[in-house]
């Protein structure tokens, strides 16, 4: 052990206290000391001592996983502070936040940092999920970690949604009303589910208490546990997915570098840059606080939080049972099955799998980029023209039929890629994933920016 000396009884008190806390060097001056520190420090021993040099490149992962962790820590820190000021009752909630912004030192800053971190983390984890998918880092040893990641996604969305209600202003009250309203469309279980989430028939004190408990305690605890599992599984899979060496040099020597300082410095740099950006955003664009919630007056339009707007947009086009239950469940089933699909030898670590994979993914992205807005516009026009297939029940004409057509189109797209363009199965799956991701993103953007009064399509500058 470098620099360790016996705790001699004749040493000074300061030296003995120091030695009892820091059993070795604090500031390393050699590689041997660096390795000792990584191995013997609580937080650092969770990391590997050495990492492959090829995984250091920023554009390999864009540091998105680390960014998610940074944002989660920011959220927990600012959230803990906010708990000192927030009053979780319908009567006191809005006033407590107004008071926080007016009377508490740094109150508005802490709240705005919390607000920005919350919105940013949804974007970052979506990008992280996309990166993990496109580098094939969900196969082999990493299959279950993809599932854990999906559980983390669910926790983050739950946390965002429960937090959305807490200010108890017009926007939050009605957003939660309509999203929990969507639950009623679930067949058979809908009513029970809605009452369970709302803590009653209406949104009121029980709802706020349930959401507050979830937001401040239950979800954070779940997040910490799941994150620990998630990072552990990454470590057990050998770290971040390694860009595959070109075949032929199978016995190629993978160069390793020490975690401390090379990877740690990069991670800290990304984290600090991110925190700086969040602080600047929080100072320039403080979080808003609308009028106190008024159950007697619904705003026009009433929109879900932006990360659920994709589903609200779907509601405008499909039968409610399909938009709220069938299609989200189908999407979830697809995501859960993804790591377990049989698609032959798919190289891990290479973005887009291959040159052909890159081309097909680009084609799929362009297709989604064009087809989705066109379809939205056409469907809007058709809706004005009157109900189609008027003799047929709505669940069939705007539910089963369009959904079946959609699935058929996706299958056909994948088949064309495989037969006409010789794409491998993994590349075809990748193309479909990219297409659906782009389509959902367009639906979300449309719902947020292009829906105005009466949920009519309007240009964003009219909003």
């Amino acid at each position: 052990m470098p620099e360790s000396r016996h705790l001699g009884e004749s040493d000074s008190l300061a030296a003995r206290v120091w030695r009892s806390i820091f059993r070795g060097p604090v500031l390393p001056r050699s590689d041997r000391e660096r390795k000792w520190i990584v191995f013997n420090t609580l937080l650092l021993h969770l990391r590997p001592v050495r990492v492959p040099a090829s995984t250091l490149r920023y554009t390999h992962t864009f540091g998105l996983g680390g960014m998610s962790l940074t944002l989660a820590l920011l959220l927990m820190g600012t959230g803990a502070l906010l708990m000192f000021a927030y009053e979780p009752s319908p009567a006191g909630a809005h006033a407590s936040i107004a008071g926080l912004e007016a009377d508490v030192s740094f109150g508005r800053l802490v709240r705005s940092v919390h607000h920005w971190s919350a919105n940013l983390i949804v974007v970052v984890i979506a990008l992280h999920m996309l990166r993990v998918f496109l580098t094939g880092a969900f196969r082999g040893l990493r299959q279950f970690n993809w599932i854990v990641g999906l559980a983390l996604l669910a926790c983050v969305l739950t946390s965002n949604f429960t937090g959305y209600l807490l200010p108890w202003d017009q926007r939050s009250y009605w957003a939660v009303t309509i999203v929990t309203g969507m639950l009623e469309y679930v067949p058979a279980l809908g009513g029970w589910l809605q009452r369970a989430v709302r803590g009653g028939a209406e949104i009121g004190t029980p709802t706020l208490i349930v959401f507050y408990a979830l937001h401040t305690t239950l979800v954070p605890v779940a997040l910490v546990g799941l994150m620990a599992l998630h990072f552990w599984r990454v470590r057990k899979a050998g770290g971040v997915v390694r860009p595959d060496p070109p075949s032929g040099s199978a016995a190629a020597h993978t160069e390793h570098v020490l975690f401390l300082p090379h990877l740690l410095v990069r991670e800290v740099a990304v984290a600090l840059a991110l925190v700086a950006c969040v602080l600047v955003a929080a100072m320039l664009f403080p979080a808003a606080l609308g009028e106190p919630a008024n159950p007697g007056m619904s705003p026009n339009p009433a929109k879900a939080p932006w990360y659920f707007m994709g589903f609200q947009e779907l509601l405008l086009h499909f039968d409610p049972v399909f938009a709220v239950l069938v299609m989200p469940l189908a999407g979830l089933a697809g995501l859960l099955m993804l790591p377990y699909l049989r698609c032959g030898a798919a190289p891990q670590g290479r973005w887009f799998l291959s040159a052909r994979g890159r081309r097909t993914a680009l084609a799929a992205a362009l297709l989604g980029l064009v087809a989705t807005p066109v379809w939205i516009a056409l469907d809007e026009r058709a809706a004005h023209a009157g109900p189609w297939l008027s003799g047929v029940p709505k669940v069939l004409s705007t539910g089963v039929l369009p959904f079946a057509i959609l699935l058929g189109a996706l299958a056909g797209f994948a088949a064309i890629l495989k037969r006409r363009h010789g794409a491998a199965t993994a590349e075809a799956i990748q193309a479909v994933f990219v297409l659906l991701a782009v389509a959902f993103a367009i639906l979300t953007l449309t719902g947020v920016w292009f829906r105005g009064e009466g949920m009519a399509l309007t240009w964003p500058w009219g909003l």
Partner: protein, 170 residues
């Protein structure tokens, strides 16, 4: 950036690297202090807004004649007792026991304030009759304007014991 591989290097670290590392460490320390300062400022009790409090704090007790000499009148909203001494002077006693803060009732039969929590007792002027109270009951400033008694309950006045100067007279 090709970095050291698996071989350990024990070469001396260049001075500029040590300087920059020390700079980072220093800045990191400053950042940590700033963070602690922000958190501490945040959780501090809020600054009281002066005007509304001052208005709420002034309790109009009533005309002088309403209070007989030798009487003790409890005012629940103001949290004080208005004592009119035998010689006609007024004292407003904070009802909070000076030991650990319990509310002290006036026991008319015994002509004393007796705290139920730990046995402290005070006489009609607030002086300590029985420990463990360390000092006399706090006072609130009394003003008599146009024959009306007014008590300012914004800030209690500490005292060791009774002093004739503390009595408000018409």
């Amino acid at each position: 950036m090709r970095a050291n591989a698996t071989q350990t290097t024990d070469a001396p670290i260049p001075a500029r690297r040590r300087f920059l590392a020390a700079l980072w460490l220093g800045l990191g320390g400053v950042a940590l202090l700033e963070l602690i300062w922000v958190a501490a400022s945040f959780v501090r009790p809020r600054r009281r807004r002066a005007a509304p409090d001052a208005l709420r704090a002034l309790v109009v007790a009533g005309p002088v004649a309403r209070f007989a000499p030798g009487s003790v009148t409890a005012f629940r909203e103001g949290r004080f007792y208005l004592v009119r001494l035998d010689d006609g002077g007024f004292l407003a006693l904070h009802r909070q026991c000076t030991h650990l803060g319990c509310t002290v009732p006036w026991i008319a039969e015994e002509q004393r304030f007796a705290c139920p929590c730990h046995g402290s007792a005070f006489d009609v002027r607030g002086d300590v009759l029985n420990p463990p109270a360390p000092r006399a009951l706090d006072l609130f400033p009394v003003r008599i304007e146009n024959g009306v008694v007014k008590v300012d309950t914004s800030a209690p006045v500490r005292r060791a014991s009774f002093d004739p100067a503390q009595v408000a007279r018409t």
